[in-house]
């Protein structure tokens, strides 16, 4: 989707202003919101691609002005509704309750065998790899000049606006990985070959706007690219 999340190259967003240091969590709720991600993943509400699509469907003004873990909260709420774990009215009602009773405790843990902590202990070092091997042959190889297809799909895609229609050179080939344009839209998972394409700043922004001596790389799935015309 042509969403507000697609930020590469937008102007007018102000200073980065990195603080000298900051805590891991700016508020207690961030710690809890962070853990919603592996727990809702384990419960089958989403994979990482669909999780991102949930964030992309936030109200754009809210997206730009809210702390990042609120994006996560939004996506978990969205996918919990989509997968029938709760409905919005139920979440709203409990939200009102905890707003009025901020010190009300959470329910008691229901996990006598500690399976959820065991899941955390296992998934952090093991990860959830996106690489696949279905034996599909790669169409492109390192050194090929390719152009990113300039279409504007609805739904989830990683084909960022600022690389659409641009031509660059493949500098790495990574094999097959889960294809976000299917998995992210909660369709049956497919996989495609992934390549890193390198662009010059001039090719991306034009000679006048480009900074000197700059390049960018962007990872593409095979359906995102075609051989360059020249």
């Amino acid at each position: 989707m042509n969403g507000i999340h697609d930020l590469g190259g937008r102007d007018g967003l102000g200073a980065v202003a990195p603080p000298p240091e900051e805590p891991v969590w700016k508020a207690e709720w961030e710690k809890h919101a962070h853990t919603l991600f592996p727990m809702a993943f384990r419960a089958g509400m989403f994979g990482v691609d669909a999780f991102r699509y949930g964030m992309e469907q936030m109200d754009p003004v809210e997206y730009l002005t809210s702390p990042y873990y609120e994006h996560w909260l939004h996506s978990v709420q969205h996918h919990g509704i989509r997968t029938g774990h709760w409905d919005l009215a139920e979440v709203d009602e409990r939200t009102r309750y905890y707003l009025e009773n901020p010190d009300a405790p959470l329910p008691e843990d229901k996990d006598p065998d500690g399976e959820l902590v065991a899941f955390i202990e296992a998934v952090v070092p093991a990860g959830a790899p996106a690489s696949r091997d279905t034996g599909k042959a790669a169409t492109f190889s390192v050194g090929d000049r390719v152009t990113v297809v300039s279409d504007a799909p609805r739904g989830h895609t990683r084909k960022a606006g600022y690389v659409r229609g641009k031509t660059g050179v493949i500098v790495m080939a990574h094999g097959e990985m889960v294809y976000p344009d299917t998995a992210g839209n909660s369709l049956d998972e497919t996989s495609e070959h992934v390549y890193t394409v390198q662009f010059t700043a001039e090719d991306l922004w034009g000679a006048e706007a480009a900074e000197p001596n700059g390049t960018s790389t962007f990872d593409v799935w095979e359906p995102y690219i075609v051989p360059a015309a020249s």
Binding site: T35, L99, R158, P212
Partner: protein, 206 residues
């Protein structure tokens, strides 16, 4: 010059209270269904507070600076090289380390969300996830490095920005500071900053 960042994430107190209540609402639903526990929250938080952070990346970098064969393996396949040191996992299943040289400086960004190599750097700083860095780092990295991070890169040096659009996770192997001959791995690791592995800073000088 850029105006102050109005998108910086410091929402009003009532907004904080709203979000906190909604997180609690969803967490309570998940706890009742047996899908989440406060014990899991505590453990997951503890891992990223105390165990997985940039000190792990610093250890890898110091190893690469002192062991040329390890450096080769790291540049060939960062995931398997890091695994030799017991470093692996979530949001870094497939990592690539890119090496700064006198000719090229690398930096990472995720313009579409906030992808970041957790196993070596921990959780990303807030500025990395906020709109200004994500928007500007691909368009004017030289300006961002100079004005926001105090890093003046001469025009003769290429700046190469890695936009982390897939599940590959890139991070930067910075150059070893001069004047550190004979230093131990532990001494060298203490010079390696999180910013130097994101590519927006240099290691500390001895």
């Amino acid at each position: 010059m850029n105006a102050p960042n109005t998108a910086q994430s410091v929402p009003a107190a009532d907004h904080q209270a709203q979000i906190a209540a909604r997180v609690k609402a969803i967490e309570s639903l998940m706890i009742e269904k047996g899908l989440m526990t406060t014990a899991a929250v505590d453990r997951f938080a503890e891992i990223y507070e105390n165990e997985v952070g940039p000190q792990l990346g610093a250890k890898v970098v110091a190893n690469a600076w002192t062991d040329p064969q390890f450096r080769e393996r790291l540049l060939d396949n960062a995931s398997t090289a890091c695994a030799e040191l017991g470093i692996s996992g979530l949001q870094g299943e497939d990592m690539v380390a890119v090496e700064n040289t006198d000719q090229v400086r690398h930096a990472i960004v995720c313009t579409l969300c906030s992808c970041y190599p957790w196993p070596v750097l921990g959780l990303p700083p807030n500025w990395y996830k906020e709109p200004a860095y994500r928007a500007r780092m691909v368009r004017e990295p030289r300006t961002v490095l100079r004005d926001e991070f105090g890093l003046d890169v001469p025009d003769s040096v290429e700046i190469r920005v890695w936009d982390t659009s897939s599940e590959m996770r890139y991070w930067v192997l910075p150059q070893r500071p001069a004047g550190t001959d004979g230093w131990s791995e532990e001494q060298l690791a203490a010079l390696v900053t999180r910013e130097s592995m994101i590519g927006v800073g240099d290691p500390e000088q001895p």
